[in-house]
Symmetry: C2
Subunit: 210 residues, 2 copies
DNA sequence: ACTCCACAGTAACATAGGTTACAGATAATT
DNA sequence: AATTATCTGTAACCTATGTTACTGTGGAGT
């Protein structure tokens, strides 16, 4: 059995299920920035993330973006699951935030395993639970926080996800993900720098104390 | 078997499951405005909605509210489901938008039925799917729409849910649910009235053409 | 009919955030 | 080193929304 599977899902699934996953799952490695799912795509496989991080984005009619949340190792994409079941198109875009390793499961196994393995059902339910909570978090941020607070939260999350106090993004990129304009982000970042919370460089933000 | 169960869930569940629901489910009727779940509550039963509508609200630390979405007949509350499984506290508030009839299922049955009935699994997955999509809709509204557009969407939804072109709410109540101030709502409603889209009265808004 | 009160209308002002425009800084390319 | 493209800083301005304050009004209760 591949080591990544055992390491990340060994404690979740019984051996029989692990074996099945090992047999039918396709191991896949994607580079940073790789577009895994585009809006409108039909989903053919369920991804189990074993390392790295995936960012999930929403887009409106004008092409304006908004970051919803990140997936990390041990996660799967509940929106994908629900697309599989309903055979509907994806409502979201998924892009590798860092390079990532995944195991792709054919969607036919979904219903099969749900009937036969309690641990699989728990995993799927747990996954939905986590995703709903992430969505609530996102709603809280957009509805209740001001842009400066959202920016701080975003920087913290980025640093946590990549395990790196240095964030490699332009102000424009951040503006897209928070659905605002570059000038606003530059303005707020400069304020944070004046407060000693970050240090700004070209293409790069160093988090000092937030 | 109670008629409401057969009428609303007969096409979803096999007879054996319908019988079990009939045996262990508690029929319940609640009046408009009834607070069904408060933030922090532990959930002891899964509600199957057979008539009426439930509104699901989120609240921030300052007590400010935000309407997330409505549940209608045939729906269940996925957030509740996920609370049951995780034995965690509710993150949301649920209030009867209209008088409503429900069948309450003890949470122990959840895992039991998930293993034994494919139709139950499908129902639960479908429910999660719908709720995730409603959350996406909500996020779209908050992130991408201006307040006037959100207000129009809200009025339409209210009218649809209650099957009544007349909306029985004060401006203050609407302001709470959209997380803004009364003055803003009054201002926007007056604009809509000047455009001939609504007619305003005390405690009451008549939708004409939106 | 009179009183009271929640509700609605509106003006005047404050603020966050969006927009436009341009200058200067940094890195990449020739 | 010179040229170019990209990124960042900043000012000036605009708009949507939030805030405060006050007025008027309709309806319930007396």
């Amino acid at each position: 059995m591949i080591q990544e599977l055992k390491d990340n899902y060994g404690h979740l699934f019984e051996d029989a299920l692990l074996n099945e996953i090992n047999q039918v799952g396709a191991f896949k490695e994607v580079p940073e920035g790789f577009k895994m799912i585009e809006i409108g795509d039909y989903i053919r496989a369920i991804p189990l993330l074993v390392s790295g991080a995936i960012k999930i984005l929403r887009q409106d009619n004008n092409g304006d973006e908004l970051l919803l949340y990140f997936l990390e190792k041990g996660d799967t994409c509940a929106i994908t699951l629900s697309c599989c079941l309903g055979q509907t198109k994806s409502e979201i875009r998924a892009i590798a935030e860092t390079k990532a390793k995944l195991i792709m499961i054919p969607i036919q196994k979904m219903e099969d395993w749900s009937g036969r393995y309690k641990s699989w059902r728990s995993f799927v339910f747990e996954s939905y639970h986590n995703r709903l909570n992430e969505m609530l978090e996102t709603i809280d941020s957009i509805a209740f926080l001001k842009m400066d607070e959202r920016l701080i939260k975003y920087l913290k999350e980025k640093a946590r996800i990549s395990q790196d106090k240095t964030i490699h993004n332009t102000h424009q990129e951040i503006a897209y993900e928070l659905h605002t304009s570059r000038v606003v982000i530059s303005r707020l970042l400069k304020k944070l720098e004046n407060l000693g919370k970050v240090k700004l460089h070209r293409n790069l933000i160093v988090i000092k104390d937030i």
